[in-house]
Amino acid sequence: MKRSKTAALLLMGTAPLLLSACDRSESAAREGVYTSVETCVTQTNDRNTCQQAFDKAQKDAAATAPRFANREACEASYGKEQCAERNDGASHSFFGPLMTGFFLSQMLRNGSPMSGFNSAPAFRDSNGGWQQPAPGGAGGGVYRSGASSAMVPINTTADRAVTTSRSGFGRFGGSRGFGS
């Protein structure tokens, strides 16, 4: 089959259709970094998801953690006693940071978690900042391979800044818009 199996809408619909698409309800995402399953449960009250997210993060940690040729290089970035020797399964060994927490993102609909979640291992660098692996890398999905294997900072709270002006974009707009 060359077409999508379903084509649901979450917010765009205003009334339910025959299919389960167009289901309109308030939704929001809940995201957090947790140092243990217990802290996750305290925040979310959802032991099942917390445990699954932790298990998946731990499984991904060895494959997605940054790799260092020796312990010293790893500890320089992640701190004393924070690195372990690992093996990639093809008898190549390297050093990588220990997973110090996990990231969990879930959609809530009307306050209740929906099925499915995103989770990832989180690492704390020697400056105390949280990091997680950047996406992609493996290829085979909707993106071809070659994405970076870099780490990205986890930052779940937005900075605020004093806005001095607006309307600096949009001068060339027309009523028909700019799509093409």
Binding site: K2, A7, T14, A29, Q132, G136, S148, F172, G177, S180
Partner: protein, 393 residues
């Protein structure tokens, strides 16, 4: 490939209203048109459109390593110098991209010919991904299409998968922005945001005009929060020359589409592709325009023209066609003229969607002239296996 007349679904307007399709009629002229559909064979789809789309996409991306360090090509593409390093960095970091649309001339005979890459601000996405899909399901259920009919359209699944894949690489807060008063653009970003939410990404919306800049040169939303990532349905080249453009390179703002898309959503990529792959069956000969007289058999297109504006076409038989528009100044390219084929007086242009790096569906817009403009109507399609009468002697 055939154009087949078919009765409309009697309730399609109410379905459109229920599913947020507010722009099926634009300025009193029909835009969504299901009085007919285009029927393709599976081979036409897979062999003539899907495979070439993926190949051309890869060919275009493979040019980028060379372009970002090539001053002559950056000038040919009319990229302003203050943005060169920023664009190059975005490519080196492979800042995530989401989608694009290739436009092809194709009629079922011979290879599809690439007209252009809409790789920065493509629209007609919702109608291709969602409403066209709904049309097929409905018409199958009503028995109006041959049973087993299919559609080249996994755009929705690919969008949700793409958002899920890049979710962790998208800085927060993440906003979708379009021009406030453009119903069509607002509909497109509403749909993209819907898909992002389904992938578990928390995100909001913002009018392009409402974006603010802070004392320290960062971009803010209406709550004075520093915007982490911005999906903007607004041309990169216009942002470059607007008041806030100069802040972009040092603002820390992540853009989707990323800055490197300015190199591809630019008709200057067409001569560069032709130079690198001269004679490729899906490419038309192309060169940068020297401003001289346009010979027969060539089309002149401004680098940044959208919706078929400011196109000059000198047909092989000597006829000349011209469209008006806002892109009067600025550099152009020339492309060998390869006219759209008439199907009962309609000229369909195939929009082939690339989500992430996957060719995942098509949407067809047909106009009454050889140049597809914003007057074009969206006509659905189906994959229908032809049952040829085979006589066995």
């Amino acid at each position: 490939m055939r154009r087949i007349a078919l009765a409309e679904r009697p309730d399609w307007r109410s379905k459109a209203a229920e599913c947020g399709f507010g722009f099926h009629t634009i300025d009193d002229a029909p835009y969504w048109d299901e009085s007919a559909y285009y029927a393709f064979s599976l081979r036409e789809i897979e062999h003539d459109i899907e495979a070439p789309s993926e190949e051309l996409h890869a060919m275009a991306l493979d040019l980028l390593d060379g372009i970002v360090g090539n001053e002559q090509q950056l000038r040919q593409l009319a990229i302003p110098e203050p943005y060169w390093d920023w664009i190059a960095r975005s490519w080196r970091e492979r800042q995530p991209h989401l989608y694009g649309r290739m436009d092809f001339a194709y009629d079922g005979n011979g290879p599809a010919k690439l007209y252009e890459l809409n790789y920065d601000t493509p629209t007609s996405l919702y109608e291709a991904a969602f409403f066209q899909w709904q049309w097929l399901e409905d018409q199958l259920a009503r028995g109006q299409l041959p049973s087993g009919s299919d559609q080249f359209n996994s755009i929705y699944e690919s969008l949700v998968e793409a958002f899920g894949t890049i979710a962790r690489g998208i800085a927060r807060p993440f906003h979708f922005a379009a021009m406030r008063d453009s119903m069509e653009d607002q509909g497109t970003v509403a749909y993209l945001r819907d898909c992002a939410l389904q992938a578990g990404i928390d995100c909001g919306t913002l009018a392009i005009e409402d974006i603010g800049v802070s004392t320290d040169g960062r971009f803010t939303d209406l709550d004075d929060r520093v915007i982490g990532a911005l999906f903007k349905l607004y041309p990169l080249e216009d942002m470059f020359r607007e008041a806030f453009g100069a802040y972009l390179p040092r603002s820390g703002l992540q853009l989707i589409e990323p800055p490197w898309k300015a190199l591809l959503s630019n008709k200057g990529i067409l001569p560069l592709l032709w130079d690198a792959h001269r004679g490729h069956p899906n490419l038309l000969a192309a060169e940068f325009d020297d401003g001289g007289e346009l010979p027969r058999g060539w089309v002149r297109k401004p680098l940044h023209s959208r919706e078929g504006a400011n196109i000059a076409m000198h047909l092989a038989d000597g006829r000349e066609l011209r469209t008006d528009g806002p892109y009067r100044d600025g550099p152009c390219i020339r492309q060998a003229c390869h006219s759209l084929t008439s199907f009962d007086g309609h000229y369909p242009l195939i929009g082939s969607w690339i989500v992430g790096d996957r060719a995942c569906g098509i949407g067809i817009r047909e106009d009454n002239s050889l140049i597809t403009q914003d007057s074009a109507r969206f006509v659905p399609h189906a994959i229908v296996e032809e049952t040829r009468g085979v006589l066995i002697a």
